[in-house]
C-alpha cells in the first residue's frame, strides 16, 4: 500500500511542482569552481541516496533550511500578510534554502555532496524534502522538524560544513546508528515519513579537494526549540545530537550546550505550565 502512496505522491509532484531554487541562493554543480564572495555564506552538506520501493526508484534527500528573521523582517512579513493574505509570501525575500539534490557538487557511491551559496545569517534545519525521478526540478516536502532541531550561523565569506544529513524511513528498521533507536521500525499512522539525524563534521570528515583551500568552519550547532509547523509536512524532530540536542520526558528540547544536564535532570526541573515556544 505504501508503494501506491509513493507513486501517487510522485505523480502529484510531477503534476504540481516545478519551482527552481528560491531567492538569491546559488547551487554549485559538478565540482565547479567556488569563488568566495565576501557578502555570501556558503554551506556544504552530505546526504545519502535512499532506496525507494516499487516505481519510486532512488530518492535523493534535500535539507530544507530556514533563515531566522530579524524583528524588522518579521514585522514586514506580518504587514504583508495582513495586506494580502493570498499572495503575501511572493512579495517577500525568500528565507528558504533548499539544497538541491538534483544539482550535486559531487556524488559517489550513493553519497551526495551539496554546496550552496546563501545570504549570511542564522539558519534552522527545518525540514527534509526528497527528489525522485518524477520530480523534474524541485523536491517534495516529507518531514517537518518542528518539534525540535538545530540551528547554526552561516558567516559571510566562509564555507560552513553541515556534516552529514541522515534519513531513514520511520516505518522500517535501519542500521544507521543515530537512527536505529529512533525509527518506529514498523507500520505507523504517519506513513512515508523520514526519521532524520545529523552527523556533525569532524576531524574525519572528507572534504572535496577543490574546496579544501577555502575558509571553512564546521557548523556550530545549537539546539532549536519547537516551532509551529510552517513547513506543513508530517511533524517530527531531529534525533538527539551528542553535546548539542536532547529531549526531556515532556518532549521539550534540551540545549546541551547551554545546560549540559542530562535530559532526565532537565525533565525534573521543567515541570511547569509554561506555554511551549510557538504558542506564545
Amino acid at each position: 500500500m505504501r508503494e501506491i502512496m509513493r507513486l501517487h505522491l510522485l505523480l502529484l509532484a510531477a503534476c504540481l511542482l516545478s519551482a527552481p531554487a528560491f531567492g538569491e541562493d546559488r547551487q554549485f554543480k559538478n565540482g565547479e569552481a567556488v569563488t568566495i564572495q565576501p557578502d555570501k555564506a556558503y554551506l556544504m552538506a552530505r546526504t545519502f541516496e535512499v532506496k525507494g520501493k516499487a516505481l519510486s526508484g532512488t530518492l535523493r534527500i534535500m535539507p530544507i533550511l530556514v533563515r531566522v528573521l530579524n524583528e524588522d523582517e518579521l514585522q514586514q512579513a506580518e504587514k504583508a500578510r495582513q495586506d494580502d493574505p493570498k499572495e503575501w509570501k511572493d512579495k517577500l525575500e525568500s528565507n528558504i534554502t533548499e539544497m538541491l539534490a538534483a544539482e550535486p557538487y559531487a556524488q559517489a557511491n550513493g553519497e551526495v555532496t551539496l554546496v550552496t551559496a546563501v545570504k549570511p545569517g542564522t539558519y534552522v534545519l527545518a525540514a527534509v524534502a526528497y527528489k525522485g525521478w518524477a520530480l523534474v526540478e524541485t523536491g517534495l516536502m516529507n518531514t517537518s522538524l518542528c518539534m525540535g532541531t538545530v540551528k547554526f550561523e552561516a558567516k559571510a565569506g566562509t564555507l560552513t560544513d553541515l556534516g552529514e544529513i541522515l534519513v531513514a524511513f520511520d516505518d522500517a528498521p535501519t542500521t544507521i546508528p543515530e537512527l536505529a533507536n529512533v525509527v518506529a521500525g514498523k507500520s505507523t499512522p504517519a506513513p512515508y515519513t523520514f526519521a532524520v539525524a545529523i552527523r556533525p563534521a569532524g576531524a574525519n570528515t572528507t572534504i572535496p579537494a577543490s574546496l579544501d583551500s577555502l575558509p571553512r568552519v564546521n557548523a556550530d550547532y545549537r539546539a532549536m526549540p519547537a516551532f509551529p509547523n510552517f513547513a506543513g509536512a508530517m511533524l517530527s524532530r531531529l534525533a538527539p545530537v551528542p553535546d548539542v540536542l536532547d529531549y526531556d520526558k515532556d518532549g521539550e528540547v534540551v540545549d546541551l550546550k547551554l545546560s549540559p544536564l542530562s535530559a532526565e535532570a532537565k525533565a525534573d526541573a521543567s515541570q511547569t505550565d509554561a506555554i511551549p515556544p510557538g504558542n506564545q
Partner: protein, 189 residues
C-alpha cells in the same frame, strides 16, 4: 489510511487541484476553560470486537502527573501543529519563523474542473477525508513526543468527549488526560 491518502492525492492530481486561491489563516491559541465547569463522561466500558477495530479513530490520551493546565496547553499546541500539516505540501518559499502559527490552504479542486461540478465534489470529499486522517496522525505523533499515552474508547463515549466547541472538546480531553489513570493497556502511539 494510507490508501485513502493515496487516492486523495491521485484524485487531486487528476482534477488539477492546486494550493492557490486561498489565504493564509492564523491558527489561534484556544482559551482554556475553568476545569470545574467541564464535565466528562463515564470512561468505563467493556470493549467488544467492534470497539477494538475502532481504536484508531476513537481514543483519548493520559499522562501521569500532568496538570489540567499543562495538558490543555500540550493538546492545543498539537492541535495547531496538526492543523498546519497538509497532504504532499510544496516546499514553501517563505516561513515566518518567530511569527504566529498560520496554516496554508490545502488542496482545492476548482468547482468547474475538467470533470465538472460532480468531479470537484467527489475530489473534495476524498481530499477532506485524507486530510482529516493526516491531522489525526500528526496529532498522535505530537502527543507521543510530549509523553502522553493513548487509550481506546467506544464511539459513543468518544462522541460525548468530542462534542461542543473546540475549546470545550479540548478541555474535556485535558481533564481526562490529567485525571485518574486508565485501567486498560496503552495502545501504540
Amino acid at each position: 489510511m494510507v490508501v485513502k491518502q493515496g487516492i486523495a492525492i491521485l484524485v487531486a492530481c487528476c482534477l488539477n487541484a492546486t494550493f492557490a486561491g486561498a489565504q493564509t489563516i492564523v491558527v489561534k491559541v484556544l482559551e482554556r476553560p475553568d476545569p470545574t465547569t467541564v464535565t466528562v463522561p463515564d470512561m468505563a466500558f467493556k470493549p467488544g470486537r467492534s470497539d477494538l477495530r475502532g481504536f484508531d479513530d476513537y481514543f483519548y490520551f493520559h499522562k501521569s502527573g500532568v496538570s489540567y493546565e499543562r495538558a490543555f496547553t500540550d493538546m492545543d499546541q498539537c492541535r495547531i501543529q496538526s492543523e498546519m500539516a497538509q497532504l504532499a505540501p510544496p516546499i514553501p518559499r517563505f516561513i515566518p519563523l518567530g511569527g504566529e502559527p498560520a496554516k496554508e490552504p490545502g488542496f482545492h479542486v476548482p468547482v468547474y474542473s475538467q470533470y465538472g461540478v460532480a468531479g470537484a465534489i467527489i475530489g473534495e470529499i476524498f481530499i477532506e477525508a485524507a486530510t482529516e486522517d493526516l491531522t489525526a496522525a500528526t496529532g498522535r505523533k505530537c502527543m507521543a513526543y510530549k509523553g502522553y499515552h493513548r487509550y481506546g474508547t467506544t464511539r459513543a463515549i468518544y462522541k460525548q468527549i468530542d462534542s461542543g466547541t473546540d475549546g470545550e472538546k479540548l478541555a474535556r480531553k485535558a481533564v481526562i488526560a490529567s485525571g485518574p489513570p486508565p485501567q486498560a493497556e496503552a495502545l501504540e502511539p
